[in-house]
Subunit: 300 residues, 4 copies
């Protein structure tokens, strides 16, 4: 046979599960998008089409919904851990499970009497929280993250002192807008059931806070520098995390030339451009730790 099978995985992607927990008249909501990917002893289904080792993707979907009832959804990470453990330990041909989750946050609607509605919610919409849990029967890998968190500094950003070659036309600037959509992933050093598990909810809130603050508080000479500070701030403050990876588009807000109209644009009016954009990507590691988050978080 001139061809062989390499890495492979399968499962049901994008199971949209909404869990309502009733505490008397007060309801709580968790809103997840769960994707399952299983791998293991799966050569035969590729070679001959025999499904003898295949747990149907439809079954993995059913399991997601059943587990929302059986275990509840304490956090995206904890929910992923329940699922990954189940697939690997209950099916002999499944050697590895990877659960990816997107979480959409909601907040309570304010009522007419300035209170909080007990069972009425409005989607927060500011960012998407992500979690990825992988289990091979022995070790855990948990990588949490964020995407679509759009931030902007209207000053305290410069860009100068770069290489000029024959294709360089960009002028140096000492005051520009710096804006990006934060896509980040961070890896926990929790890998074993014997270790104390992090508080996933608290950890997310803290990481989010630190990366926002680092973005705001770094006087920036380059987006790379800001990115590094964002990652370092997370590593420095959160001992449960060993590695951070960011993919940050440099969303250009170009100063509009108003001189043809006899107007002076004193860093006031900008044109927000779509494409092209700079794309800055890097990993920040706790010293002595190994990088394990894949390099590409985007397709471009």
């Amino acid at each position: 046979m001139p061809t062989i099978l390499g890495q492979n995985q399968y499962g049901k992607a994008e199971n949209r599960v909404v869990k309502i927990t009733r505490d008397g008249a007060t309801h709580h909501i968790k809103d997840l998008n769960v994707s399952v990917a299983l791998s293991g002893d799966m050569d035969e289904v590729h070679y001959s089409g025999s499904n003898a080792n295949v747990l149907p993707t439809d079954t993995t979907k059913n399991t997601v919904f059943a587990f929302a009832k059986e275990y509840g959804i304490e956090s995206a990470e904890q929910f992923g851990i329940h699922l990954a453990r189940h697939f690997v330990t209950s099916q002999e041909p499944v050697h590895r499970a990877r659960i990816r989750i997107e979480e959409y946050a909601w907040e309570r609607i304010e009522t007419s009497d300035a209170g909080e509605a007990k069972h009425s919610f409005v989607r927060k919409g500011q960012e998407i929280r992500t979690a990825q849990v992988t289990f091979d029967g022995e070790k855990w890998e948990v990588i949490s993250g964020v995407k679509d968190l759009t931030v902007l500094n209207s000053t305290n950003s410069e860009f100068w002192g770069y290489i000029k070659d024959k294709y360089t036309t960009l002028k140096e600037t000492y005051d520009r807008i710096l804006a990006t959509d934060v896509s980040g992933k961070w890896r926990f050093n929790w890998t074993d059931d014997e270790q104390t598990m992090p508080d996933w909810e608290e950890s997310y809130e803290q990481v989010r806070k630190h990366l926002l603050q680092a973005f705001a508080e770094t006087y920036s000479l380059s987006l790379q520098q800001t990115l590094y500070q964002m990652g370092a701030r997370v590593i420095d403050n959160r001992s449960e995390i060993d590695e951070v990876r960011f993919s940050l588009p440099n969303k250009h807000n170009f100063l509009v030339d108003l001189e043809p109209f006899g107007l002076k644009n004193d860093n006031e009016v900008y044109y927000a451009s779509d494409r092209p954009y700079g794309l800055i990507e890097a990993t920040i590691l706790r010293d002595g730790c190994e990088a394990r988050i894949p390099v590409d978080l985007t397709n471009l």
Copy 2:
């Protein structure tokens, strides 16, 4: 000539203007997407290609950016009024201008010392605010709105007592999730420069509050009833508004059947479905007023 020209309009769409206002070290941001549509004495450009009456769309773009400097951006509506007045009054062939604006809200990043960053922002992301200003040289029409505001009631929604025909299989329900993405538009009764202009920023915040509260506080027997209450609450509380139009998808969250797994689903676990969805659309009017908002806010 067997064919004739009917209604026509042209302009530059989606001018993405970001305006930074500096109040010492404290900056303020307005982030708009502005679309211009002009009409008037434009037959010849269609028939012969003569551009003698055509102000280039590129010029309308330049005007948007220049006006951000010349007038600032107090509100989307006020900015639209400046632009519409300019095009109609400065160019004889332009008889009517319609300015459409989307606004993206930002909030300040919280700093390490629990203060508010002076020039660092995170996009709020909860909804998109819209405004449409039309001017024909005499009368103004201002229609403001909101889109992509996602809300959910986890109880207090029933659906029963409907028509059953031979294609009906739906079971009646006395407790369901009611969820929608609010798309709404509301028309102001300000139409004339002689009238006192509404406070556009305050009006938006109040309308938004009222429609959210009406959604939360209506015990719902149908999404139509909820929609009507949302519109009536706005009309009742905001004297500056005469007409509201909503387009509300009924975003189905289906209760998952867990019985095959020996589990009881007591209104806890739902599957959030994408398509198809119900689509409920209606106009609510102040008694005695005429409907002027077009019927279709969506393409489907």
Copy 3:
């Protein structure tokens, strides 16, 4: 009561129906996205929540799938006619039905022996065909259309002789790229069951051909002129159609300035810009006919 109900409609949107017709081993496919909107005697459901006059949107969905079996899908328009007639004639409170359909075209995969696969298809992907059928119990209105059909002329387009005001910086050009995504709708003069029905499939193919040819064969002094020629070509050649409406973005392909690099750009290298874009919209009518297609085909 200070508020009253205006125009309203409801139904199930985006029912994705795929119909396979087997002619021995040779299969045929129709792939539609069907949206139902009903209106009529529906005040009470808005005022009190009584659903006594409401055929559930779930039932309208079931009807779409059942009719695919009962009537087949000869064309999007014919399918819409079956559905609209059914809703209006079978339910007394329903006075008007509007069916909107998107159709996705497929073509056969070529086999190893250079034949055509009998039951294997690849989606064509070039454009989306649309149809809208409205019935009020007496008269029909059929508006067909196309969207996302992207076309480009690499020459034979000029733009000069326009108004210059103080905000004008654009230079006149005698050779530019003209590119657009065609969004068009056309209204048939078939309105009555007594009339001979058009051949909807043939009509679509012919209209599509004529508008493409008019785009290609018009030496253009403005996109407005090209738009008018596209509409006029359709009206002139297709007697079953009385009105055409186009919404054409002027997708800017800007000549890149290569002089800083010592290169001459002789209409060779362009930058395809996303936003902003010109947006040209107009109706073309058969002389003596009334315009009935709504003005806005887009949201901006």
Copy 4:
């Protein structure tokens, strides 16, 4: 320093370059979306913000447009090779360049006299072609690909004989629709300037043909089996390729239950579902070759 920098890269993403080549009155068009990612001696820009080793992303953008003039665009791959070589060989701190390209195909509009327009095009729209070229100063890696190529077999697909656990409810089927959006990447064994370069255009057309034919001609017992056949067909027929990776969603077309309406659905009427979907991913290798295409082509 408790944190260190790991892998990093930067560049300008999504440069939309359109190249028109004039052969007398006959024009040719190439339409690309080009993304540049550079890495090398870039620690300092992250640590201190010094840009001394940074070629600005704006310069990489300029280079893309300049090279479209200087070298033309023979193929996406060849264009990427020119760019990658330039960045690595012209800038000492740049040790590695990765160029990613999306290509959009166009075809000529048919004219009134049944000829082909010389300079009028309609975008083909069936799929997006991709290419990725990486150069480290010594070795080349070229990975080409396709995405958004939607295919469907209306029969000759079964699914049975799988594992049943307590969460399994799926019924076995002996005749179902099999549909997917093909996302594939394939790696060339051309790695060295000394080797003869493949004919990139011909190779793409042939790979595309083989994977479509394998999809159509495989009687399928599982999507995994079909996927493997698609990859094996490419490896078997194209000696220039050593590795293929597919990510294939199993786009469910569910048979609609029409029995409640007294109708029999004999594999005729299907509901095309959006989410969740199966997701099948695998690598197929020429025997003896090493896998180098990253595992995840999607974000879920």
